[in-house]
């Protein structure tokens, strides 16, 4: 249960790659990941409320930390959304890492998030809620545009 599957990782990579910059800058990749997280939080928050969406992201952070040392290093003492929005906090905390570490961390985080949502809501509903999860060329993704 705690380990994202290959398809979760694949979906996470696909979503993150869409916003990723072409260069090798760690801060650039961290900033791109923040945008993706903010977008997903907004999608989910609309349906389940910002607090619930944030709580799921925090849980995903803890699950993702089991598979990413960079994430494990920052997963302690996560801030409340009032103090600092979690995506911004993650961007700041990951920016000093290498591109590889940022990619590994954000992939683990996002894949855990997808896994958690699928566990709670099923694959189809998760795909409906997180519009970026499905490949752009599938019928489901087209419907949601």
């Amino acid at each position: 249960m705690t380990k994202p599957s290959a398809s979760h990782l694949d979906a996470a990579q696909r979503v993150l790659r869409r916003d990723a910059p072409s260069g090798d800058s760690g801060p650039g990749h961290a900033a791109a990941a923040r945008r993706v997280l903010e977008r997903t939080l907004a999608d989910l928050g609309d349906v389940m409320g910002a607090t619930a969406a944030h709580a799921l992201l925090v849980r995903s952070l803890k699950l993702g930390a089991l598979h990413s040392s960079a994430l494990a290093a920052i997963a302690i003492d996560t801030p409340t959304p009032e103090a600092e929005p979690l995506p911004a906090y993650l961007e700041r905390a990951l920016a000093e890492n290498s591109v590889e570490d940022v990619t590994e961390a954000t992939t683990a985080l996002y894949a855990s998030w997808i896994m958690l949502l699928e566990r709670l809501l099923g694959e189809r509903l998760t795909a409906k809620l997180i519009r970026d999860v499905r490949p752009a060329d599938t019928a489901t993704a087209k419907e949601m545009k």
């Binding site: 389940m48 607090t51 509903l125």
Partner: protein
């Protein structure tokens, strides 16, 4: 040009509920779905929205405080009405918990108004608005402010041309709440607890502009969502059969019994076959169905005590009966054997009668049906049965019901709980003790508006069904008393009694 506005009635998506509502949900109405926790408010709210929302006529389901949306989506998608394809485009779920926590009623109202203005939905549900009133928000809203909220919401949503459903927990002591006055429709859901059983009830307390069916209607939540079984009203009294054209007679499948009944069972009659365990009631009921099936008359049989596969093993006509079932000439209805209501049973029977075009129906047995009923319905079993039989026979179906009768030799009983009066015809079967042997006798007690035999006839249960003797049982008197006396000269008493009418 019509001088009256035409109010379109929208389908609720709940089987049976539109009938209770008086045709459906009035378009643009402002409705309250009220009831205690766990009674099905959220399921009903979702069911209505999924039944009506389309890409052109969108719906928004607002959740505020109460069941977390993640949980609601997790559980609601289990129902067959939850069409994932409608999500996002036709139906949007919007959670307002953060607005409620931080800004109270005003913030919630503002967000609802914004969403409605931006999206222009045709349907809106707010679940659960009631929980906001019970907690004091940051502004410490009063009951007066709560009423203002409802008034403003009603006004805004009606102006926005949205049919609206507010879902909230209320108990019946609050029936004077001002929100009930504002609402055009008030659907009350409840769970009645009686001993160990729980029965869901729906009461449409108000539906402006149309005549709803009053009273408490049974409901059930299945994998398809909510199902409502409209309460049966008393059947209208049937007109007497015109004397010039007597009703068609149906054979029971037992030639001698047909003769005793004056030529078979008049079509559309309700026949009760009462007798003790093992007396052959079910055998007779099966003969009745098989006789019809052989003539091309479809039949249904409702069973309560055994599952169909087990039940089929109990008939002496096993292979023949199974063949008829396989060919669809006889359909076995196994009605869920726990906490049933009469309305639910009737719905299943009626639906089957229409589906297969049944001319004959068997209820095996009324005793089993009574046991399967939730305790709350057993109290008025007689009245319920009366309504059920009336509703079934009104459609022209001839119904044979079996009923368990405990042999009581101290008094002559025709049926338990005095349900004999429900029947148009009554056949009793009894055991008699003759020279240390249990033997069976039957008699036709009544056939409404028809002459019939008054004989007590001995019969046997054989592999081919009931074998009824052609002559009256004349060797003994007092067969029904438990102390029969043998005649010295039985030949003196042979012959046939005058037929009764």
């Amino acid at each position: 040009m019509s001088d009256r506005v035409l109010i379109r009635k929208l389908p609720s998506g709940v089987p049976g509920l539109d009938h209770v509502l008086g045709g459906g949900i009035p378009e643009l109405s402002f409705n309250l779905i009220a009831g205690g926790p766990g009674c099905g408010k959220t399921t009903l709210g979702n069911q209505i929205l999924f039944a009506n929302a389309t890409s052109e006529r969108k719906a928004i389901y607002f959740t505020i405080i109460g069941e977390p949306p993640v949980k609601m989506l997790r559980y609601q998608q289990q129902y067959s009405f939850f069409d994932m394809e409608k999500l996002g485009d036709a139906i949007r779920f919007v959670h307002l918990g953060d607005e409620a926590n931080r800004g109270g009623l005003k913030a919630v109202l503002k967000r609802i108004q914004e969403e409605v203005d931006n999206t222009g939905p045709s349907f809106v549900a707010v679940d659960s608005f009631r929980s906001m009133f019970r907690r004091r928000g940051p502004e410490g809203q009063s009951e007066h402010e709560s009423q203002d909220f409802v008034q403003e919401l009603a006004l805004h949503l009606t102006n926005a041309e949205a049919t609206t459903f507010l879902l909230g927990e209320f108990d019946e002591a609050e029936s004077d709440n001002a929100v009930f006055t504002v609402a055009d429709g008030l659907i009350w859901l409840a769970q009645a607890i009686d001993r160990n059983s729980i029965v869901r009830k729906v009461n449409v307390m108000k539906m402006r502009g149309q005549g709803q069916i009053p009273g408490l209607h049974t409901a059930r939540i299945t994998e398809h969502g909510l199902d409502v079984f409209p309460r049966l009203l008393k059947p209208e009294s049937r007109p007497a059969a015109p004397s010039a054209e007597p009703p068609e007679r149906l054979s029971t499948g037992v030639h001698e019994l047909d003769a005793m009944m004056g030529g078979g069972v008049p079509q559309g009659y309700s026949v009760v076959v009462a007798g003790p365990s093992g007396s052959g009631k079910t055998v007779l009921a099966h003969q009745f169905l098989l006789d019809g099936a052989k003539r091309g008359e479809m039949g249904i049989i409702a069973v309560f005590e055994k599952r169909p596969d087990t039940y089929l093993e109990t008939t002496p006509f096993g292979p023949e009966f199974k063949q008829m079932v396989a060919e669809g000439k006889i359909q076995i209805l196994y009605v869920r054997p726990l906490d049933l209501s009469i309305d639910e049973t009737l719905f299943a029977l009626r639906e089957a009668v229409v589906r297969v075009g049944a001319k004959r129906a068997v209820i095996d047995s009324l005793s089993g049906l009574e046991l399967a009923l939730a305790p709350t319905f057993r109290e008025d079993f007689r009245e319920s049965l009366y309504r059920m039989m009336g509703a079934l026979t009104e459609s022209g179906v001839t119904v044979v019901s079996t009923v368990e009768l405990e042999d009581d030799f101290t008094r002559l009983k025709f049926s338990p709980q005095g349900i004999a009066f429900l029947s148009d015809a009554l056949v009793i079967q009894r055991y008699v003790e003759i020279r240390g042997e249990l033997r069976r006798v039957m008699s036709v007690v009544k056939v409404r508006s028809s002459p019939h035999s008054a004989d007590l006839r001995e019969y046997h249960v054989t592999a081919k069904g009931l074998a009824v003797k052609a002559e009256r049982f004349t060797a003994y008197d007092g067969l029904l008393t438990g102390a029969p006396r043998e005649h010295e000269s039985p030949d003196d008493l042979t012959g046939t009694a005058e037929p009764r009418t």
